[in-house]
């Protein structure tokens, strides 16, 4: 307890010193980022591109962009390298929320502020980070529940296709959705929940089974649009798509297109570009000693047929 307090004090002082240093002499802020697994999906690919562009556009920033390739050990090594390079802030997109905690603590002890991006670090790592920048997945679940409630006029039987079991994003979206639905819309009942593993084909298979099991389905909530479109495919094949309201999250290009055709009711717009910019800005603000909320969420608004013309078609 005592030691961690000491570390905290030391860390905070170091941050303050660095912030002062940053403001006083250094023209360029050196910021390092280690990402989760670029190239594995469109979201992360677009994120990296946007991050590099944002860093290049800001003359005060010198960015060191690294990728852990989904490998925890490599990410820990990269954090240590960045500490050695004496960067002024480290942004981490954790490959594993628990496994990176010791490395993050080391960076923190060395006086380098750590910003976690996109998906949060485990609870025990929270004292060692300067801020979290990313989407609020509980809030996204809630927004989806509100859209479902409006779409069904407050009454109906629905099924839920969740993300991969064990993923924080999957757990939080499900929790936010279920809690809000129970509270705001008690007459909309979730008949069944099964994981779609973020995989469109798996989700399509799950939905086919749901369609056999339940003669009446009024709505489907999928934890992302990729799975939502899989469910839509299955319902279309069974000729029941018109009777079902589909609500997703993380609006994908396919979801956007389906919405345009009137087949897909709503989603939550989460842009990897906003995600990347928010992470960089959070790091800059921390270095400059500005007051940054510990949980620094970026906006993820609802998108439906009615307001979709205000949004650009997602790049993924």
């Amino acid at each position: 307890m005592k030691r961690s307090m000491k570390a905290l004090v030391a860390g905070t002082t170091a941050v303050a010193t660095l912030a002062f240093a940053g403001g006083a002499w250094a023209e360029q802020m050196k910021i390092g980022i280690t990402q989760n697994n670029v190239g594995v999906d469109s979201y992360q690919t677009t994120y990296e591109k946007a991050f590099k562009e944002a860093a290049a556009a800001n003359p005060d920033v010198d960015a060191v962009v690294l990728d852990a390739g989904g490998d925890v050990a490599r990410q820990i090594a990269q954090i240590q390298d960045l500490v050695q390079q004496n960067v002024q802030a480290i942004i981490v997109w954790p490959t594993n929320g628990k496994a990176v905690v010791p490395a993050v603590k080391k960076a923190h002890d060395a006086g380098i502020p750590v910003i976690i991006t996109n998906s949060n670090i485990a609870e025990q790592g929270m004292p060692f980070i300067a801020a979290f920048s990313g989407p609020n997945n509980i809030e996204q679940g809630k927004e989806a529940a509100d859209m479902m409630c409006t779409g069904l006029n407050g009454k109906g039987d629905i099924v839920q296709i969740s993300g991969k079991p064990g993923y924080t994003t999957a757990i939080e979206r499900q929790k936010g959705f279920e809690d809000e639905l129970a509270k705001a819309c008690p007459d909309v009942k979730i008949m069944d929940t099964q994981p779609g593993d973020w995989n469109r084909e798996k989700s399509q298979r799950v939905m086919e089974d749901f369609l056999v099991k339940y003669p009446q389905i009024d709505g489907v909530y999928a934890a992302d649009d990729n799975m939502g479109v899989g469910a839509l495919n299955a319902a279309k094949a069974a000729g029941r798509a018109k009777d079902i309201k589909f609500v997703g999250a993380t609006n994908f290009a396919v979801g956007y297109e389906a919405m345009k055709k009137g087949e897909y009711y709503g989603s939550v717009y989460q842009s990897p570009i906003d995600d990347a910019k928010n992470a960089l800005q959070t790091a800059i603000d921390v270095i400059q000693g500005k007051d940054v909320p510990k949980m620094n969420y970026f906006k993820t608004p609802q998108i439906t047929e009615k307001n979709m013309d205000q949004f650009e078609k997602p790049a993924f």
């Binding site: 594995v40 690919t45 079991p165 099964q194 099991k213 495919n233």
Partner: protein, 352 residues
């Protein structure tokens, strides 16, 4: 515990004595017929297991045996199924193929991406050539260079995943005009009111069954897998046989990719992740020996259908997903056990 161990052999010895006594007394017509049925059942233990599962699930869910559900399960099993057919041939030939999962990702991404760029027919052609080339790499390394197939295909599993990511740059690929393209026939269409994936699966199974059971080439595969040295001394060109089994496996993946791409009308880089294990589970459930030399194509079909119906049945019964994982494991063990027990005529092995 000790009692159990002591009691078992005694009981089985008792059964044996009774059986011998019965044989000495001589059996009537009835007993002979019963024996024939028993020996048929013994050979088809997996089929018995399949029937038992179907009956079991239909008791708990009235929708389980509805025609629409059966068609739906067979349709979605067809992707795993077509791959499992090819892998069965590789396994009978005495090797393994773990690369089929990421090969499926690669081929699906390729065919879906090229569909909008060069049209459906050329896309299928290019994908077919590329997939066969990957199969040929497996075949050369295992067949000609004689490397361990487990290591080679495990390495290919991650190598092809990397290839897919390089090709796609991490982006999802989609087919834009889903309703207009004739490409939809493979995953969404029907032939004579039967969903096309089922037709493809059935035709593939019949062709490969004929090849394995009735052609000299089929017998060479069994010979190579059963005893490679003996096969070589009997004039079988082992390298060529093994090479060709990997081409067959790759063709299975290519066909599965066409069904998958057409069914989903899009693809992700990791769409086939983990499929290699489901494929292998289907093959093993069908009783194909992992040591090679033994197995049949049509039992792989049963194995794949058992997996499909278990997953579907458990979902219809409303189990949570983690219960499904456990029950799937139990059912696989039971099925394999029943199969082996039927073959040796008792539950536990007589040899300690």
């Amino acid at each position: 515990m000790a009692n159990f161990h002591v009691e078992k052999p005694v009981a089985s010895r008792g059964q044996q004595t009774a059986r011998v006594a019965r044989d000495i007394r001589g059996g009537g017509m009835n007993r002979d017929r019963w024996k024939t049925i028993a020996s048929v059942l013994a050979r088809q233990g997996i089929l018995v297991a399949f029937a038992l599962f179907l009956i079991g699930f239909s008791i708990f869910s009235d929708r389980f045996l509805s025609p629409e559900n059966i068609l739906s399960v067979m349709r979605s099993s067809a992707i795993i199924g077509v791959m499992a057919l090819g892998v069965t041939v590789v396994v009978i030939g005495g090797n393994l193929d773990l690369s089929v999962g990421s090969m499926l990702s690669f081929s699906t991404v390729l065919v879906v991406d090229l569909h909008d760029k060069i049209g459906p027919a050329p896309a299928i052609g290019v994908m077919l050539v590329a997939t066969l080339a990957l199969g040929a790499v497996n075949g050369l390394l295992v067949g000609v260079a004689r490397l361990n197939s487990l290591i080679v295909t495990l390495g290919m599993l991650s190598a092809i995943q990397g290839l897919t990511l390089i090709y796609s740059g991490g982006k999802n690929v989609d087919i834009v005009n889903q309703d207009q393209t004739w490409f939809k026939i493979f995953g969404r269409g029907t032939i004579a009111d039967i969903p096309t994936p089922i037709v493809i699966f059935a035709v593939g199974a019949i062709l490969l069954h004929l090849m394995m059971a009735y052609t000299p080439f089929g017998r060479r595969i069994y010979a190579t897998g059963g005893n490679a040295t003996a096969a070589v001394f009997s004039g079988v060109r082992r390298s060529r046989v093994v090479f060709l089994t990997y081409l067959i496996s790759a063709s299975g993946v290519a066909i599965a990719a066409i069904i998958l791409g057409s069914r989903v009308m899009g693809s992700q880089n990791n769409v086939g992740q983990g499929y290699e294990l489901q494929v292998l589970a289907g093959v093993i459930l069908g009783g194909t020996s992992l040591l090679g030399g033994a197995g049949t194509i049509w039992k792989t079909v049963i194995g794949v259908l058992i997996l499909g119906f278990i997953q579907n049945g458990l979902l219809l019964m409303g189990f949570e997903y983690y219960v499904q994982w456990l029950v799937t494991w139990v059912v696989i063990i039971l099925a394999v056990w029943l199969d082996i027990a039927a073959k040796r005529g008792r539950l536990l092995s007589p040899i300690a």
